[in-house]
């Protein structure tokens, strides 16, 4: 599927900002199953300094510095992206979750998408015993890892109410789990906390869903905004240890707990990290005395 992605991020400040420095993670990059034909960021006011680069996980970063006083900062993304429909692995054919865990512990891969990076607590995802125990219910001994993870995803969708405003960008997984409420970020963080709690690698993805009319019954939660979901590591496709017959490692699989679906060609990936803080669309330090309001408008439509 080919999409045109448009995102406009507007920061309005109550009083003029004299100086601002930001890191933006707002440009999609090519990934397995995703091609980026064009992607451009337009920034107003024009930054005095601007640099492009990649972070450790391979995400695209834009560093900007604005030295002139401004009351408004606008960042516009225009991109065209092709997303392939994912090869559906047979969930029951994936390796036992304990084997995946041991494989992740022992991996010699330290590269950007090594499971090793996604095993540990991170800035926003602590390892919460309650979430871990909740997760364990889906992971009896020897169950295929993806089969168990999909069940966990479905339980989260059933047990947690999608509610905008119940949580904020800084809500931690134990808090939203206790509330049993949240938005995509909370669903993703809770699921990540649970999987890591039992020793399984899980990553956080920020991105977009295809925009659908509100009346469309197939419309997913989180369209028209930035979305977040989870990557679960399902064993190396090229294992160094022998596997029991018929079990296939599949690498990273996208699971969207907010919608209880396996990520496919409706999901456009923007950035991947350990949790929200690794992929936050915009970080910054500003000099100013007033408050601020941020508006985000997203439109993802099939091209042509």
């Amino acid at each position: 599927m080919i999409y045109d992605v448009r995102q406009t991020t507007t920061c309005a400040y109550a009083s003029p900002v004299a100086h601002a420095r930001h890191v933006l993670r707002l440009t999609p990059i090519p990934r397995p199953g995703q091609r980026v034909h064009v992607a451009a960021l337009q920034i107003l006011p024009e930054p005095q300094h601007r640099r492009e680069g990649l972070d450790f996980f391979g995400n695209r970063l834009t560093w900007i510095e604005i030295e002139e006083p401004h009351r408004m900062l606008t960042i516009k993304l225009a991109a065209r992206v092709t997303v392939d429909a994912a090869d559906e692995p047979g969930a029951l054919a994936t390796p036992a979750w304990e084997a995946v865990r041991e494989e992740a512990f022992a991996t010699s891969d330290i590269g950007p998408l090594s499971p090793a990076h996604f095993l540990f607590p991170s800035r926003m995802v602590s390892l919460d015993p309650e979430i871990r125990d909740y997760t364990r219910e889906s992971f009896p001994a020897d169950r295929p890892v993806l089969d168990a993870a999909i069940e966990l995803m479905n339980r989260l969708k059933a047990d947690i109410t999608y509610e905008i405003g119940a949580t904020t960008v800084t809500t931690t997984p134990p808090m939203s789990f206790a509330l049993r409420r949240g938005v995509c970020q909370d669903f993703a963080h809770i699921m990540i906390s649970g999987l890591r709690g039992i020793g399984l690698p899980a990553a956080y993805v920020s991105g977009y869903l295809r925009t659908m009319p509100r009346t469309d019954p197939t419309r997913l939660q989180g369209a028209d905004a930035m979305h977040a979901w989870v990557l679960v590591w399902c064993g190396s496709p090229h294992p160094t240890l022998p596997r029991s017959r018929g079990r296939v490692g599949w690498g990273w699989i996208g699971l969207d707990p907010t919608n209880a679906v396996v990520a496919s060609d409706q999901h456009v990936v923007l950035a991947v990290g350990r949790d929200y803080t690794d992929v936050a669309p915009m970080d910054g330090v500003i000099v100013g005395s007033g408050g601020q309001r941020i508006d985000v408008a997203v439109n993802v439509t099939p091209a042509g």
């Binding site: 004299a18 972070d55 022992a106 991996t107 330290i110 090793a116 709690g197 936050a280 941020i294």
Partner: protein, 833 residues
Amino acid sequence: MAAHLDKIVEKETAGLEQLVAAYRPLPGIFDEMMDGDGRVRAHWQPFLSMLAALGTDEINRRFAAADRYLRGSGVFYRVYEDAAGIERPWPLSHVPLIIEPSEWKQLEAGLIQRAELLETVLADTYGPALFSSDGRLPAALIAGNPEFLRPMVGVPPPGGAHLRFYAVDVGRGADGRWWVLSDRAQAPSGAGYAIENRLALSRAIPDIYRTTRVERVAPFFQAFQAELLALSRQDDPQICLLTPGPMSETYFEHAYLARYLGLLLVEGEDLSVRDDGVFVRTVSGLRRTEVLLRRIDADFADPLELNAASRLGAPGLLQAVRDDKIVIINSLGAGLVEARAMLAFLPALAPIVLGADLAIPNVATWWLGRADMREEMIGELDRMVIAPAFESQTDASSSNEVLGAKLDDAQREALILSIRDRGVDYVAQEAVTLSSMPVWRDGHLQPRPFTLRLFLTKVGERWEVMPAGFVRIADNADARAVSLQRGAATADAWVLAHGPVAETTMLPTAERIQVQRATGLLPSRAADNLFWVGRYVERAEATLRLMRAMINRAAEADETAAPVIAGIASLLDAWDAVPKDALAAPVGFITRAVLARADLSGSLPALTGAARSAASVIRERFSPDAWRALNDLATMVALPLAVGPSESAIIERVEAALRIISSLSGLAQENMTQLAGWRFLELGRRIERAILTGRLVRCFAMTGAPDGGLELLLELADSQITYRQRYVMVAARAPVLDLVLLDPNNPRSVAFQLDRIETHLSALPGRSATGRLSPVQQIVASIATRLRTVEAAAIDEALIVDIEQSLMKLSDAITAAYLSNNERSEAVWEALA
């Protein structure tokens, strides 16, 4: 003659025997001073004999002198858990650890070897990561380490090395071998305290110190300092020590080291990262720095790319590192090697990297991320310590350690489950037993377990080891490393030299070091604090003088004094020094309120407390004496007053406070080596004094002033004697005004303050276009001109109000020109999204 000498030896031996008679090494552990047969080890004998020769009373006296020295230098440490952030006196245990030369050589070689190994590990981890890909360092061991800074991967450390100042904690096992307990690579602390311990002890027992041939520490720091200078590419390098600030546990040490090494002590707020490098905001504008000795943890270094909540770092610092603009010591990310889990892999890496085994082994450690180790160690749980894999072994984290043998069944089961879930998070370590050394308690030597921190610095391509150490001694006799908790005492370590000790070692670069010290810069933040210390102290002094005048007049029991007393009360009220409802109260009540009501912004506790707290964040700018005077002032003022009607307690306190302020003025002038700093303190005082004098004149010398107002004014301005000499008559308005406002020779006149202000400003770096007076100077010049041209008789209230307002404008202008950084005046830090 020979017989005489024999007698001396005999006498000394007898003294030594008596000194150690009651000393009993702890069962089953190695004692540094006494061997297994109860004999004092040879390298301790000279020291102990000399100590014994002093006799118990003299020993106590000498050791007390060391404590006095430490108090006098203001050595302290802060206890985090303490809500009040109380500074604790420095706990020095006076008996040094004595290390013989041959043993030192071995330690030295072993530590240098270890430093080289760790440097290689860091270079590989942030570089090609071959140790991971070939399985020698599991990827999860690196990836799970919170000090593994992903933004630094692939970035070669500016200056060419990750480690430049490295510390190791060692302990000696029951078998007499030294073991490495942990590595300190992030921002090792303790070296400054080691210097202080050395100074205190060498002054308390100078004769013993000189006679015992002890290796000196100064050459080590001179080498370190020279290396810092060599890393800078500028001709006039500004090397900074980046501190988290005065709330940090070891702030004293930061300030001390900065002074000792001639570095500029800065906080993150003082730094500005720009496209072309890193700069310090100083009173003379932005000054480039290329070398940063950091005492903040790496995660706090840059809110833009690391911990967004950090206010301790400088946004953009990581980019400056990537651009090779700044050498940070140690490199951001070097803390990686502190993790305990590393100890499990270093012994096997050593032969590959160094071609040799580790000469000093580290604590036997197993990482439980490996399936085979995990089950084996679960089987051996009873003789193991289980600890977090990625924390370094610090006093603070030792509560996270678990002794397998001490668990009950339920705890044991829970721990095993956790280990099976997430073995990557745990290590098993053999429980370590430490050796003991003597401490002096209640007139006796007693054995206590200890650890020894040793410091290394990289000089060129070589490593040098500080031939001394920082000893921490457990406060009880439990000899497991685990029990070394906070509350421990510290001691010096004396490394005995083979030959004579050189008293001074001058390195080739010493001359450059001298120059560096003479041109210390003043960060704007520090100048701002000094300015306010000056203003608060001056306001406190004026308040004290008013109180004194008030009490003296009340004591005369003269009805005619009532209007003047009422005038003083209403001025104290205007300064928010007394509660409104107290204005009609007796003088004792009013003055008591000024001393007690810390909630009022103009009360003495509030003023002196504000002065102290402004000074505390720039403590390194004060001499210990000046700091102590300021501290004494705030402490004394805040003490509860004895209840009672008598004003004598109050007047005593007021007089004492005035005496401290007057000594403080002298100390500031004589001891403040940072010249620009002293000028800002002075500017604060002079401006405040000029404003307050104007105010006093309006209250006590203008129309409607109370009878006796002019005499009061003369008293407050310290001008009675001058006045009597000149006029020999009762106070008259015009001559009094002339003396208090216009006379350039009266040190308390407004004209005199302006003269001083002009002098100070002209000595500060100019901040305006050449040729013209700066806006700040223009304000001063205009006030000064008015005072020079006006006749005393023509002075009216409007003129004084006008001058006061101009002075306030001057204060703002100085702030704008020198003290605030325009870039971040009202800094709001926010992580968006």
